[in-house]
């Protein structure tokens, strides 16, 4: 394998340095590296030089919440198209949610997804196993078998559905302690959200759309942090979306409860006011909330109450969004715009620096999901999982250029900052000058 010299990159947004990649590993990080010197040091290898020219170098991003749709809904996304989208967005690992057809509730299905990710080679794919058989919330899936499979599953989630039965949730939290697993909860009290179509509040009252009250999320989070405390387990909260949820997680952390939480890019930027257009591109679960919630989420991500950003990348075919609100599917694609939204909402607002972005989008998600070799420091001897970002760029979001098979983005035509130009997965370039390899 040849060498790569990245010249003049602001590592985690710091002073420009040169980074030499040798094979799958970072060989050296310092100012003043030359191609010639790099070549001599390693013998007779060619050195590919990438002029970073002030771009920001981050550890490869890790998404703890991606829907790759394969097996079953290959019309909206496949492992190949989803991991290409991930590489385009600067990701080197994605955790694939279990709500496929068939559901990823057996060792066979998780191994299939894991193996497809390895074969395609754009991004590591770490399957998430279902907590209950068929996501129906009644019977635990074979969590141990999924953990012991080649896929080595450590994160379990019924995402899309809430593990609403308190006893099942308690047992799951306890059971995965045997192998250091974590339950990622989709917090949605089902009875309080029957017929729910959007955030319950001023806008839903006017539009006559079924309300999804904040309390339906908050009551489950409150219950689950108490359960995790009681049985001494670790719980992860998926796509936290309300100011009240932030307060509960903040309280739980202050008590030493092992809870981690994620926020999606869209909940950091968009509000339920957009639903006034009845355009289903804004239909998502949990729903877009209010300005007050958005501000609380940003603040919580900055102060660490919310640990990570996860995309909840949810591809859907065109026809499932080109219809009336009630008939539309819930979800938005997010892998290819996540970093731009985080720059817009967190970096350009002064809430987070680039080291903070690396922490929330790579280091912490890798740690929660136990993705070894990812979310590591950008320093000599570490795996060369890297992302180079042109932070000075501003441009309109053009879904036609997406690598994802689906186009259901809420940002079409919106101007956003930042563009990922290069992604390296263990030293292999998956994205070069904004183009997939």
């Amino acid at each position: 394998m040849s060498k790569i010299l990245i010249r003049g990159a602001k590592v985690l947004g710091g002073e420009p340095q040169d980074v030499l990649i040798d094979g799958g590993t970072i060989a050296e990080v310092r100012a003043g590296l030359s191609a010639e010197g790099a070549g001599r040091a390693g013998g007779a290898h060619d050195v590919t030089v990438v002029e970073a020219d002030g771009k920001v170098l981050l550890p490869g991003l890790v998404d703890l919440h991606t829907h790759l749709r394969e097996p079953g809904r290959e019309d909206s996304e496949t492992v190949l198209t989803g991991t290409r989208a991930a590489a385009s967005g600067g990701y080197t690992t994605v955790f694939a949610m279990a709500n496929t057809f068939p559901v990823a509730d057996t060792a066979g299905v998780v191994e299939q997804v894991w193996r497809l990710g390895r074969e395609h080679g754009y991004c590591d794919v770490q399957p998430i196993g279902a907590v209950t058989v068929g996501l129906d919330g009644r019977k635990l899936a074979e969590l141990g078998a999924m953990h012991e499979s080649a896929a080595g599953v450590t994160v379990f989630s019924d995402d899309g559905k809430c593990v609403h039965d308190a006893v099942i949730m308690r047992r799951a939290l306890e059971y995965v302690k045997a192998f250091g697993g974590v339950i990622a909860q989709h917090a949605q009290e089902p009875r309080l959200t029957e017929g729910a179509e959007m955030n319950e509040g001023v806008v839903s009252a006017e539009l006559g759309l079924g309300g999804w009250p904040a309390v339906a999320e908050e009551s489950i989070i409150a219950r689950d942090v108490l359960l995790a405390d009681h049985v001494g387990s670790r719980v992860h909260i998926c796509h936290l979306s309300t100011a009240g949820s932030v307060e509960i997680v903040r309280w739980a952390k202050s008590r030493g409860i092992q809870v981690t939480a994620e926020v999606t890019p869209h909940h950091l930027l968009l509000t339920d006011e957009l639903v006034r257009t009845y355009n289903p591109v804004y239909k998502v679960n949990p729903p877009l909330r209010t300005e007050r919630d958005v501000m609380a989420l940003r603040e919580a991500l900055a102060d660490g109450t919310i640990d990570i950003v996860a995309t909840d990348h949810a591809p859907h075919p065109h026809e499932d969004k080109d219809c009336e609100w009630a008939a539309a599917a819930m979800g938005m694609v997010g892998l290819e715009t996540a970093l731009s939204v985080v720059q817009e909402t967190m970096v350009d607002t002064g809430l987070l620096d680039w080291a903070g972005v690396a922490d929330r989008m790579s280091v912490k998600p890798a740690r929660i999901g136990q993705a070894t070799g990812h979310g590591r420091p950008v320093s000599a001897g570490e795996p060369a999982n890297l992302t180079l970002v042109d932070t000075a760029y501003r441009g309109l979001v053009e879904p036609a250029g997406f690598a994802s098979r689906s186009r259901n983005t809420p940002y079409e035509g919106r101007e956003l900052p930042g563009r990922v130009t290069h992604t390296w997965l263990r030293g292999k370039a998956t994205l070069v000058d904004g183009k997939l390899t």
Binding site: E197, E200, G201, V202, V203, S204, A205, E206, L207, G208, L209, G211, P213, T277, Y278, N279, E319, D322, C323, E324, W325, A326, A327
Partner: protein, 325 residues
């Protein structure tokens, strides 16, 4: 006037008064031996009904026919919609047949808005009721009825409902009629009070341009019109209220309660009424109750809306109104 009628909130005061005034002219047509105007001759209107509704569809159909439009009725039952055809494909199919306006009733809130704003079709869209969102022609016919009764058919011309106290009672949460009425009556200067058990009021109602009360008895003496909304018995199964009888006792309108209303005050109902639930037969059949009048006025108001959306600039009635006096 806008090109579509999607929400009562889209109407300005002047738009609304123009519609009501035009409806008065249309009402005079109904008094003629031949109840027909040539205004929309050669124009095609489709009544696209995805939800069962006999009275609204018939009302629109009568309005369209009195304006000499060609009318196509499309009911979703037994159609390609039940075979999975999308709203978009249905609408485009109809437009390909040369439809000038689509009158749509749909169970999903926002479906008419999508139809008008998605670029699927070019025809004018009239909302005939969408989910729990809006029913603007109902609000217009209600306002028309109030103006006629509280001010007078001739005295009301050019007038709004400034200072009139209107009370709406019942299932506001699930009611598109309530939403449309609050919007339009506010625009017309009326003072609106909603009365309902707290379970049947939406979270967020506190931002609406109206008062909210849980107590019917204290509101009745301060009302110029009381509109009873239909309450479906099934709501009781979802714990919105304990029993039908308790609902009736607390929020139903009977003869005793009607007696507490001012002399001139009227009782309204958008229909269909659930007698014995929100309204007793004694009230429903009294001459203070305008429910039958509302139906007749519905045709006039819908004629006015279609005329103003499609008819353009010519006078609706071929001779000046003064000649009829």
């Amino acid at each position: 006037m806008q090109r579509h009628l999607i929400s009562a909130a889209d109407l300005t005061r002047d738009d609304a008064v123009l519609i009501l005034d035009t409806a008065e002219e249309m009402a005079r047509v109904a008094d003629r031996p031949i109840k027909k105007l040539p205004t929309l001759r050669g124009r095609t209107i489709v009544n696209l009904f995805f939800e069962d509704s006999t009275r609204t569809r018939i009302s629109f159909e009568a309005a369209e026919k009195r304006l000499s439009a060609d009318v196509i009725n499309f009911s979703a039952k037994g159609s390609s919609v039940s075979k999975g055809e999308s709203l978009k494909d249905t609408a485009q199919t109809l437009e390909a047949m040369g439809v000038d306006a689509v009158v749509i009733r749909h169970g999903a809130s926002g479906a008419p808005y999508r139809l008008a704003n998605s670029g699927w079709i070019d025809a004018a869209v009239v909302n005939a009721g969408d989910g729990t969102h809006q029913h603007p022609t109902q609000a217009l016919l209600d306002a028309f009825t109030m103006r006629r009764r509280l001010i007078g058919p001739d005295a009301g011309l050019g007038q709004d409902l400034e200072g009139k106290r209107i009370t709406l009672v019942g299932d506001v949460l699930h009611s598109r009629v309530a939403r449309s009425n609050v919007d339009l009556l506010h625009t017309l200067g009326a003072e609106v009070t909603l009365v309902a058990p707290p379970t049947l009021l939406p979270v967020g109602v506190e931002t609406w341009p109206c008062e909210v009360s849980y107590d019917l008895d204290s509101t009745l003496p301060k009302s110029d019109a009381v509109m009873m909304l239909r309450v479906q018995r099934e709501r009781m199964n979802a714990a919105f209220f304990p029993t039908e009888r308790e609902y009736s006792r607390r929020y139903g309108l009977d003869g005793d309660r009607m007696a507490r209303m001012p002399e001139h005050a009227i009782v309204m109902h958008p229909g269909p009424m659930v007698r014995g639930m929100e309204i007793t037969a004694e009230v429903a059949d009294s001459d203070r109750c305008t429910v039958v009048e509302q139906v007749a006025n519905g045709v006039s108001v819908r004629m006015a809306v279609l005329y103003l959306l499609l008819g353009g600039n010519e006078p609706a009635v071929t001779h000046p109104r003064t000649e009829e006096k």
